[in-house]
């Protein structure tokens, strides 16, 4: 596992935050569909609903989870390195 610099950690935090913002925005749009969804355009609203759910799923699986995995590996690597230092 490559050790991350603080700048790289900040970058990953920012990337994660941007994904959170996008996910929140999509959920707001879902709420809006409930109120403003047009009966005449029900099919369109349903399609948009599915698109939003799909995008949220992608954000989580392809965006957030890899970042979380990377950060966890980084933390584990740091802990292992620190444990070695203590033994010495």
């Amino acid at each position: 596992m490559k050790m991350l610099t603080s700048a790289e950690v900040m970058e990953k935090m920012k990337a994660y935050n941007d994904l959170l913002t996008r996910e929140k925005s999509l959920k707001e749009e879902l709420l809006s569909l409930k109120i403003y969804g047009n009966r005449d355009a029900a099919a369109l609203a349903e399609q948009r609903h599915d698109e939003i759910m799909g995008e949220i799923q992608e954000i989580r699986t392809k965006g957030m989870l890899p970042l979380i995995r990377e950060c966890c590996e980084f933390i584990a690597a740091c802990e292992a390195r620190d444990a070695k230092k203590v033994k010495k």
Binding site: K14, Y16, K24, K27, E28, L31, S32, I35, Y36
Partner: protein, 621 residues
């Protein structure tokens, strides 16, 4: 009469939030009446009353609760993350405060939204049903429910404030770049989704011209949001315009902002609109440009151009108001109170603080025309109550009106603005009451003789209480406009205004208070130093018609605000839970006085558990 010249041409006028949703807006009906009388097809959409009707529903309130829970969940997690990232941006600070407000709401009022969901439909219907409206024990809880609901509805957009009489988003300033940012910011803009859901509907009208009417500060942000969406989505050949009173006052600033037109509209229509709109319809329907139409701003080759000014058309030649197309059953009133105008511009026009008739050509409507208009609204729409929106009507004109109304047996009830001048004799007040006048909104302004001299009101201050006594004796409700913070006004002088209100309850029946603002077109601004005003700040709010300033002596803005709050607290106690506090709005007071008489409303008391709601609503007068 000119008309479509053989080619169909349609105009759509849209009235956006935020405005009081009690009655139709005068200018919309006047524009429609004038253009229709010249053969043009006109559609009207009052998106303001439609918005209030939509958001005050159980479904919408549920969506607000869902949104608050979403915000609570995300803002917390993101807050931690951004803290670690060292985010000090304004956005982060605002969202942090929003999170705190939402958390406080869930902790202190966990069941409120579910309670409001159960009450809201009945509350709306109480405002529309005469049998319930005229019962204070039903009306007051209904108004309280609506006030609470509107507060909650704004919470996901904190620090935005939204009520019956007010909308403000403090984090957005009146500058073009801020308006552009706000119009496109869905998360921060409580009107964004609503307008987006309306665009297809509005464009389905297939209008050649879409005019968005923006008349006050509270309509600007929602209005430009709608304009932005329509401007982008409208098909080639459709003109999207912004009209109304607001942007006329900042015309000079707009001329330096081509990006305003790039983002929001093809045209800004300044000044008085009826005949201007007819000329614009004529030009567009004949395929001509804007050059021959007066008082327009438009973009040409990247530059903002202005067409020539012109003399306004006499009021007698303007078409009668036409409500057709407005959802009259949706307005939040048991009986429509229609706005009418007997005159334009203030016949005094010398008060140093005032610039409300900036850009207005003085004119008086003939009595024949006025009576024709009242009869038309009565016969076609069943209107029996009228609000005269004139700046003020002189006593002798009111006498002529009264005599004519009595002679014609109009049998209507009305209210108006008035100046406390000696022509309003006790005998005239009796005549006016007989003719249907029930309430006068007097420009009382201040209890201080020094301040009244600086205002240059042109009245004998010593006599004004006699006039009010005569009016009260005739059975007419006296409402006093007062304000705090006139440049150099001291705290003591402000207290004299407060004392004048509660000490004379027998003839000052209610009041509305505000804080002074320095208008760009007022005498005070033009002669600032003479009035002790220094450091007028031409701040980045280029599209605000008011200015920030400092004075040599006297209260500052914060102290004036504090005095306004003190006025509410003192008078609420001294008036001892008077019913009028809870009626809140002048239209409601007029309807109650018309129904029950002055004495009943003056003496009736009401005990409410929602004192804070009442006091905070008074700030919106």
């Amino acid at each position: 009469m000119s008309g479509n010249k053989g080619k169909s041409f349609k105009a759509l006028f849209v009235f956006p939030p935020q405005w009081n949703p009690q009655n139709p807006f005068y200018a919309m009906a006047s524009l429609a009446g004038h253009l229709r009388s010249h053969g043009y097809e006109v559609a009207l959409r009052d998106l303001n009353v439609e918005y209030y009707d939509l958001v005050l529903t159980p479904q919408y309130l549920q969506s607000v609760e869902d949104r608050l829970k979403l915000d609570y969940e995300y803002l917390y997690g993101q807050g931690m993350l951004r803290n670690m990232m060292g985010d000090t941006s304004l956005t982060f600070q605002i969202e942090g405060k929003r999170y705190i407000e939402i958390k406080k709401f869930f902790q202190e009022q966990p069941g409120l939204i579910q309670q409001l969901k159960g009450e809201i439909l009945a509350a709306k219907e109480t405002l529309r049903d005469p049998r319930r409206f005229y019962n204070p024990d039903m009306l007051m809880p209904a108004l309280d429910t609506i006030d609470s609901a509107l507060e909650v509805i704004a919470l996901p957009y904190f620090p935005a404030q939204f009520s019956y009489n007010f909308f403000h988003q403090p984090t957005t300033i009146m500058a073009t770049r801020s308006l552009i940012e706000y119009a496109g910011n869905r998360s921060n803009n409580m009107f964004y989704d609503y307008f987006q859901s309306k665009v297809a509907e509005l464009l389905a009208e297939k209008a050649n011209y879409i005019g968005i009417s923006i008349n006050s500060f509270s309509q600007v942000l929602p209005g430009v949001t709608l304009a932005s969406m329509l401007h982008k989505a409208a098909p080639e050949g459709t003109t999207v315009a912004i009209g109304g009173n607001f942007f006329s006052r900042v015309k000079e600033a707009l001329k330096k902002r081509p990006e305003f037109f790039e983002n929001f509209c093809d045209v800004v229509a300044c000044g008085e609109g009826e005949e201007q709109m007819r000329l614009l319809m004529e030009a567009l329907s004949e395929g001509k440009g804007y050059e021959g139409v007066p008082n327009l701003l438009y973009l040409d080759g990247g530059e903002v151009k202005e067409t020539a000014a012109h003399t306004a058309t006499p009021m007698d030649q303007i078409g009668l108001q036409d409500f057709a197309g407005l959802p009259l059953d949706k307005y939040f009133t048991p009986e429509l109170v229609a706005s009418v105008q007997a005159s334009k511009g203030c016949y005094w026009g010398k008060c140093t603080f005032c610039d409300t008739d900036f850009g207005i050509t003085h004119d008086v409507k003939s009595l024949d025309r006025l009576v024709e208009e009242i009869n038309h609204l009565k016969n076609d729409y069943g209107v029996k109550h009228f609000q005269f929106i004139d700046e003020a009507i002189p006593p002798e004109t009111m006498r002529e009106m009264a005599n004519r109304f009595i002679e014609e047996k109009l049998d209507v009830q009305w209210f108006t603005n008035g100046r406390l001048e000696k022509g309003f004799t006790p005998e005239l007040m009796q005549l006016l009451h007989q003719a249907g006048l029930r309430l006068i909104l007097w420009g009382y302004e201040s209890g201080s003789t020094r301040i009244m001299r600086m205002i240059n009101k042109g009245i004998d201050i010593r006599q004004r209480h006699n006039i009010l006594r005569g009016s009260a004796k005739a059975g007419i409700w006296n409402f006093a406009y007062i304000f705090f913070g006139f440049p150099t006004e001291t705290g003591e002088e402000a207290m004299s205004t407060i004392d004048a209100m509660w000490k004379h309850q027998d003839f000052i029946h209610s009041y509305g208070r505000s804080v002074f603002s320095l208008g760009k077109h007022s005498t005070l601004f033009l002669k600032a130093k003479k009035f002790g005003i220094i450091d007028v700040i031409h701040d980045p709010e280029e599209l605000s018609s008011n200015l920030h300033y400092k004075t040599t002596i006297g209260m500052d803005a914060q102290e004036a605000d504090e005095m306004m709050r003190k006025c509410s607290e003192i008078c609420y106690e001294k008036f001892d839970s008077s019913l009028w506090f809870f009626l809140r709005y002048r239209e409601n007071i007029h309807l109650y006085v018309s129904k029950f008489g002055l004495d009943y409303v003056r003496k009736a008391k009401y005990k409410s558990a929602w004192t804070n709601s009442v006091l905070s609503n008074l700030e919106a007068w």
